[in-house]
């Protein structure tokens, strides 16, 4: 009877398969105007002159904004300081160019083609200065890394290293990554006659957060932010690239206010590379010290990533090293090097993604030094409690993930000798790695309404970024109410609905789920209270608190399930069109128990009703084990991933179908990271050399093997009443290392710089 845990098909699948789901770019608008960005072609310098007269005279052109005529816009408050922006410097405010791709003009015309043509007529002269490119310059510590200090120390790692019997010291590199969701970002801004603003956004950033961002950018006092509505119903993927307020989100509203007409901005694929952040390249130095049995005595993880004077997002690579293994002496440091390439941001599996590549590769190298099985090495350093915070885990099934994964994969067949396994001409390699991710519970509210016909509607301002929120949250509400999931509609993506934090850091299920459940239980109790006071109800006189939902919209007496009432009947007798309740759930960032908090989000008053289940007493992580088989062509250096087994502890699985989608998709991200994905920057010009999908390779259908995913499906008894942890990022973590380790096993070659290609293997 319960729906949670069953593979309910996606409720929006039909709309999407028939092409009738309306994504932001598909929404028809009266009187719409179209905008395009003109972007700087140099990475650093000044605009010596900009002449827009030909563009202004071109057919259909309504407005050209440059730094010479654009309205003054404020510097935005950084996300890390409770704001909504990663790039805090607004566009078109001065003649400086800080990175290639910075917006230098914003053109609005009657049609998109006219705007594009006009943008080509703008002539810009630059005074060029040599840009800072690459992680070569002076490194400096960031203010914070995911809300934590940039340096972490436990014990004395340097001394322990000096005393260690066996050491490994290596440097690993990962390149710039771009999120590349298939849907390009789109913003449509329109003002009504009363000064209200409506923005349709392809926004992962959470509509409420964006509302505050728009208020800040447009000089609307926060108490009047209610006049701003942000809507985001269907999103064609985000992965971090559609979070936060970027200049591209703000400019359409600015132009629409000037024109008195709605303005739509749709980015081109190339512009996506410079308009919504990216994952920084990283250089990571790893030093491990162990005794002869493989017990870790010391780990030093020093990570360097890109800094910017427009905002700061250090890729939090070392944070996974701080918690993953039982090691008494650990140092993790984060440094930045300023570059003229724009501000980085969160990208799926931020920190843990590239960080685990370094850590888990280094562990494999240590296993080689010790002639120890890589899995055995991990078991010898298994952390029974959280070594970083010195407290218990709320749940940790990692040991079972290892054993189940090894079993399914056939790990025991691995011949430890590199280059020893073959299949015809292919060299075969096995590799493994540990996965862990610090998913979060963010403050979230939901309103559940039971209607007179017994159906229910749930409203919450989160966004379904493609993960299946519309489906899974209907299941959660259905179970709490005792109705079928088909009787529940989940509505999201609108500031008119109760507050939700952006669905980032694998927080969706574990933040929204408990809020939806709490609200559904509350409204059910309200109906029960109506019934027990109603003489005509079979529940009359019963204790409302003990009334149970027995399915089919029926509420029964605890002592006698034969005596029941229904939502429909109770509401009808009470003459009510509907009954509703609103509840919240979540913990404030920073009070949360896992390693990476994010600076205080300004929703203070809301949070007083939010629960704090175990702040400070337990640590919650998602765990997993990744096993990979690769085949390497010895002559061509081509690497094919031929098998992947991933076993994950994500707490309770709310919907095995959508969870599996997330896992297989995440592993595929890991394959891309290991073998394909890289944005290259011209070393002198500071420009991306291939901002498109033929230069930046995404895994295609032909690149992905059969993937075996298994969930332990054990509810975490402490994390929340649903027992659910997170699944969005975990399956990415460790895949690149597992592949690199398998490539080493196949060929004897250790590649420490991603992506791994023929050049690395044949060179």
């Amino acid at each position: 009877m319960t729906s949670v845990g069953t593979p309910v098909p996606r409720v929006d699948g039909l709309l999407k398969a028939t092409g009738t789901a309306r994504y932001t770019a598909d929404i028809p608008f009266e009187d719409l105007t179209h905008a395009v960005l003109l972007q700087a072609t140099i990475a650093r310098g000044r605009i010596a002159s900009i002449d827009a007269s030909a563009a202004e005279a071109a057919p259909g052109v309504l407005l050209v904004l440059t730094h010479l005529n654009a309205p003054r816009l404020p510097r935005m408050r950084a996300f890390a300081k409770g704001g909504s922006a990663q790039q805090t410097v607004p566009a078109l405010q001065d003649d400086r160019v800080r990175f290639a791709g910075e917006t230098v003009a914003f053109v609005v015309a009657e049609s998109q083609e006219q705007a594009r043509y006009a943008a080509m007529l703008i002539s810009v002269e630059y005074d060029e200065e040599p840009p800072a490119v690459g992680l070569h310059g002076d490194a400096y510590p960031p203010a914070k890394v995911n809300g934590q200090p940039p340096d972490y120390r436990r014990g004395d790692a340097e001394r322990a290293l000096a005393d260690a019997a066996v050491t490994v010291e290596r440097t690993y590199r990962t390149p710039v990554h771009h999120h590349n969701p298939i849907e390009p970002p789109v913003t449509i801004a329109s003002w009504d006659d009363d000064g209200g603003l409506t923005v349709h956004e392809a926004a992962q950033g959470g509509v409420h957060m964006m509302r505050l961002g728009f208020a800040e950018a447009l000089g609307i006092p926060r108490r009047k932010a209610g006049s701003i509505r942000v809507v985001s119903k269907f999103l064609g993927g985000g992965f971090g690239g559609k979070g936060f307020m970027w200049p591209r989100n703000i400019l359409p509203a600015v132009a629409a206010r000037l024109l008195g007409r709605p303005v739509k901005l749709e980015l081109t694929r190339a512009q996506m590379y410079t308009s919504g952040g990216y994952r920084s390249e990283t250089v990571q130095r790893l030093r491990l010290g162990a005794d002869r049995d493989g017990r870790l005595g010391s780990i030093v993880h020093e990570s360097t990533s890109t800094g910017s004077d427009m905002g700061e997002f250090p890729e939090p690579c070392a944070q996974i090293t701080q918690m993953l293994y039982a090691c008494p002496n650990v140092t993790g440091t984060h440094r930045l090097v300023r570059q003229n390439v724009g501000v980085p941001t969160f990208t799926r599996a931020p920190g843990e993604g590239p960080g685990s590549f370094a850590l888990e590769s280094a562990l494999d190298e240590l296993a080689g030094e010790l002639s120890l099985d890589p899995l055995e090495l991990r078991l010898r350093n298994y952390a029974e409690t959280d070594p970083e915070h010195d407290r218990p885990w709320s749940s940790k099934g990692l040991r079972e993930c290892y054993s189940e994964g090894a079993e399914r994969f056939g790990w025991s067949a691995r011949n430890p000798e590199p280059g020893s396994m073959r299949d015809g001409r292919w060299l075969v390699g096995y590799g493994m790695a540990t996965a862990a991710y610090s998913s979060h519970t963010w403050p979230t509210f939901a309103r559940v309404r039971i209607r007179a016909d017994g159906t229910a509607v749930v409203r919450c301002a989160t966004t379904d970024i493609g993960t299946g929120t519309y489906t899974v949250m209907a299941q959660v509400a259905a179970d709490a109410l005792g109705v079928r999931p088909g009787d529940v509609t989940f509505e999201a993506g609108d500031t008119r609905y109760p507050f939700a934090f952006p669905p980032v850091s694998s927080s969706g299920a574990r933040s929204i789920g408990p809020a939806v459940r709490a609200a559904a239980l509350a409204v059910r109790t309200r109906v029960a209270r109506l019934a027990v006071k109603d003489r005509e109800s079979p529940l009359f006189g019963a204790d409302a608190a003990t009334v149970r939902a027995i399915g089919g919209g029926r509420l029964a007496r605890a002592d006698d399930p034969e005596r029941y009432d229904t939502f429909v009947d109770v509401l009808e007798r009470a003459g009510l069109g509907h009954v509703e309740e609103r509840k919240g759930y979540g913990v404030m960032p920073f009070l949360h128990s896992t390693a990476s908090g994010i600076a205080p989000w300004p929703v203070g008053p809301l949070l007083r009703v939010a629960t704090r289940p175990f702040a400070g007493r337990y640590s919650t992580y998602d765990f997993g084990a990744q096993f990979v088989e690769v085949r390497v062509d010895p002559d061509l250096g081509v690497v094919r991933v031929s098998r992947v087994v991933g076993v994950y502890d994500i707490g309770r699985v709310l919907n095995p179908r959508t969870a599996r989608n997330q896992a297989v998709g995440g592993i595929t991200w890991g394959i891309g990271m290991a073998l394909m994905e890289r944005t290259t920057t011209h070393p002198r010009l500071g420009k991306y050399t291939s901002p498109n999908l033929s230069g930046y390779l995404l895994p295609t259908n032909a690149d992905v093997p059969d993937i075996d995913v298994h969930f332990l499906d054990r509810p975490d008894p402490l994390v929340n009443p649903l027992g659910v942890k997170g699944v969005g990022e975990l399956p990415v973590v460790g895949v690149a290392a597992a592949i690199a380790n398998a490539v080493h096993h196949a060929t004897g070659k250790r590649v420490r710089s991603l992506p791994i290609g023929p050049a690395e293997l044949l060179g």
Partner: protein, 153 residues
């Protein structure tokens, strides 16, 4: 210029079409058919795939003027009335849809594959759909969907 074209079995006309416009633009912006998606405009992702005279094309790479007096079939034209095409049905049932932005293009490409090869092998499916990028699914369920649709057709 004026473009006259049959779209999903219906004669359609668009006036004042600029020579530089793509078929994708024509469909989405002028004919009210936003099912085909604009994701790269460079022929790299397949999200804009439609049939042009029974041949699947990236509609972002076809000039609007090229479709004069020809036949176009989009994702909106695959279902017959209320009856979904087996490929669409299979995509929903197999769970091959996540964010769904790649789905319209994939549905058309898979439809074409099954027209040409009613019982494709797995490598054939992977190869045929390798021009349609998906950033969410990891392709597993898309493969399942094509197998399912093949079994049902």
């Amino acid at each position: 210029m004026r473009v006259t074209v049959t779209v999903n079995g219906e004669q359609r006309r668009a006036d004042d079409v600029w020579e530089g416009e793509s078929l994708l633009f024509l469909l989405r912006e002028r004919l009210g058919l936003p099912g085909s998606k604009n994701a790269c405009e460079q022929g790299e992702c397949g999200s804009c795939t439609v049939y042009l005279d029974d041949v699947p094309v990236c509609s972002c790479l076809v000039a609007a003027g090229q479709v004069q007096d020809r036949e176009v079939r989009t994702v909106e034209g695959l279902a017959e009335g209320d009856r979904l095409d087996p490929v669409q049905e299979a995509f929903v049932e197999a769970g091959a849809v996540q964010c769904g932005f790649c789905t319209p293009g994939l549905v058309v490409a898979a439809h074409d594959l099954l027209d040409r090869v009613p019982r494709p092998s797995d490598p054939e499916i992977r190869e045929a759909l390798a021009g349609n990028l998906c950033r969410c699914t990891g392709y597993e369920k898309i493969l399942d969907a094509v197998r399912l649709a093949a079994a049902r057709r």
